[in-house]
């Protein structure tokens, strides 16, 4: 019922803003779509579209391109390790920096933001100089350190955002009921910030597996990560099996995310149902 000008104007504005949003989203999704389309390109190297084929997926899973698979494995190992290390240190640190007061806290809090804000190349170069000067051999270890250095701050920031005044009270309640610090940490603190832990783990993994700069600067001569391999392939033209691999990886991540969402929704639903049942039981008992 567009009975007046105000409503008509508002409707027009709504349509326009929806159009705008679709346009911006398409800028985000177009490259992904093109990337996927070119995994079906019937050409030796991706420059132009030359016809449809699914053979690149077959070739990919025949594991003939060992360079590609080695790089992926290397990237995965680093990403998993970087996630474990940075989440552990980041979660502890997030709690510690929120809970305790110490003289250097302000300084450490500032340092946390350095890797987030300073261009990655600067941090990478600075670490490279130190490693070379001290005489640390470049390789998986140095890449791992590099990745952890920018993953830890994100974990700390995420965890700090999750800790509210409530968590403090919960911890006090736990200790009041006789749990020691260690028990309190595992049974109360960790569960209460679990969503934060999961999202920082997810973030650390995605940051690590997609990283080029650190992996490039801090790599040893022998093996490179998948993104670094792609960067070097770019000179000669990227083969469609790389597109196929990337497509598979995105599909897996989306599937994983949906599964995680599904589990969370299921748990929440079950909780609500149990709560409703308990409530109805209580009220019927009360009525009797």
């Amino acid at each position: 019922m567009t009975k007046n000008k105000r409503l008509r104007r508002r409707k027009a504005a709504r349509i326009l803003s929806n159009l705008y949003a679709v346009l911006v989203y398409s800028v985000f999704y177009i490259p992904v779509a093109v990337m996927i389309v070119f995994s079906f390109n019937d050409a030796k190297r991706n420059y132009y579209w030359q016809g449809f084929t699914t053979e690149w997926y077959g070739k990919l899973f025949s594991f003939a391109n060992t360079d590609l698979w080695d790089a992926l494995l290397y990237s995965l190992i680093i990403a998993v390790l970087a996630t474990l290390i940075s989440v552990t240190i980041g979660v502890l640190g997030g709690i510690g920096l929120k809970k305790f007061e110490f003289r250097t806290k302000r300084f450490i809090n500032m340092m946390i933001y350095v890797p987030i804000i300073v261009p990655e190349i600067v941090l990478a170069v600075a670490m490279l100089i130190i490693f070379m000067t001290v005489g640390i051999r470049l390789g998986m270890g140095t890449i791992l350190i590099g990745h952890c250095t920018f993953c830890i701050p994100y974990a700390v920031v995420t965890i700090k955002g999750r800790i509210t005044g409530d968590s403090e009270t919960l911890q006090e309640a736990s200790m009041d009921l006789g749990a020691n610090r260690f028990q309190t940490f595992w049974r109360v603190t960790v569960p209460s910030i679990m969503p934060g832990i999961l999202s920082s783990a997810f973030l650390a993994f995605t940051l690590s597996i997609d990283d080029v700069v650190m992996s490039n600067m801090l790599a040893g001569p022998s093996q490179s990560t998948l993104p670094v391999l792609i960067l070097s392939l770019n000179r000669t033209g990227i083969t469609p099996d790389v597109n196929a691999l990337t497509t598979v990886m995105v599909a897996l991540m989306v599937a994983g995310m949906l599964a995680l969402n599904g589990v969370q929704r299921y748990l929440k639903k079950r909780e609500n149902r149990l709560a409703a049942e308990a409530e109805s039981k209580r009220s019927s008992a009360h009525a009797a």
């Binding site: 110490f102 450490i108 190349i121």
Partner: protein, 294 residues
């Protein structure tokens, strides 16, 4: 390093252990791998270039003087220009977009945010490569333009600053949108209503109320797009074909083939100084902790 509260209150004497266990590792890591390397790179920037690469530990300001050299100065100026244009475009495109999302109900908004993040799970280099494929001389975009009769000859997009900027914007936009989204979302609707109630047209309300109140978010967005745009080299490598040089490429090259560490360090210090300046301005009106970076 620790406040000695333990000595005054005897029963709290053991409270250092959890502090060390929790805040210790992160503090140690940050000092070892952030503070020390940062200080060391500043130190190196004031050293002399080694004859066969590397560093000779003799004080000199040569590297900084080299930066004023026309060749380097041009690169720095161009990097700035590209970073500024990228940032401005990210703000112009991102603000209305962030506003659009922030005015949706929370559950819809969180889904819309998720929808921004999903494309970023795709390898960033492959996404950049996709732009290349689209804008090739003989690629789909040129085909479309020629079919529409907008151009007779294929336009050269690749290896130009414009394509680099497109790549930068599409990679940076989420980092501009997220902080602006969160500050617009915090803006109370009643502020806008109060302004309208007192006689302000929507455009006046926007300029006098919305914009000033969401400024922290805008400035976070500036920091989170301008600084990375200034230092990035993957985008320029992928889309500039190594022919377009920016600060990031030059820094990287000093530690590769060219091996002029002090010069690379000096350029890094330049980026650090710009970062510090922007952060300093930011901290005058907002807390670093409130910057939405995730």
């Amino acid at each position: 390093m620790l406040k000695r509260e333990g000595t005054r209150r005897g029963k709290k004497r053991h409270s250092r252990l959890p502090l060390l266990a929790q805040a210790g590792p992160v503090s140690l890591w940050m000092i070892l791998f952030v503070t020390i390397p940062m200080l060391f790179i500043i130190y190196i920037s004031f050293m002399t270039r080694g004859t066969f690469g590397g560093v000779e530990y003799v004080f000199s300001t040569d590297s900084y003087q080299t930066l004023l050299d026309v060749v380097y100065f041009k690169v720095i100026a161009k990097s700035f220009q590209v970073a500024v244009v990228t940032t401005v475009l990210c703000l112009l495109v991102g603000y209305p977009f962030a506003y659009y999302i922030a005015r949706k109900p929370p559950e819809v908004a969180s889904r819309l945010i998720m929808l921004i993040m999903i494309p970023f799970w795709t390898n960033s280099l492959m996404r950049l490569n996709a732009w290349m494929l689209l804008f090739q001389a003989n690629g789909p975009v040129n085909h479309a333009l020629m079919a529409l009769g907008l151009t007779a000859e294929p336009i050269k997009f690749i290896y130009t600053d414009w394509l680099v900027m497109l790549g930068l914007i599409t990679n940076m936009l989420p980092f501009a949108v997220l902080p602006m989204y969160s500050s617009i979302e915090k803006l109370q609707k009643s502020m806008l209503e109060a302004s309208a109630d007192l006689g302000a047209k929507p455009s006046v309300t926007f300029l006098r109320v919305t914009l000033p109140l969401t400024f922290p978010g805008i400035f976070s967005a500036i920091i989170l797009t301008f600084i990375p745009a200034l230092g990035i080299y993957t985008v320029t490598d992928m889309l500039g074909g190594g022919k377009v040089l920016y600060i990031g490429n030059i820094i990287k090259n000093q530690f590769g083939a060219i091996r002029n560490w002090p010069l690379g360090a000096a350029l890094s210090v330049l980026l650090l100084a710009i970062t510090a300046l922007l952060i300093f301005i930011y901290m005058r009106f907002a807390k670093l902790e409130d910057m939405e970076v995730v």
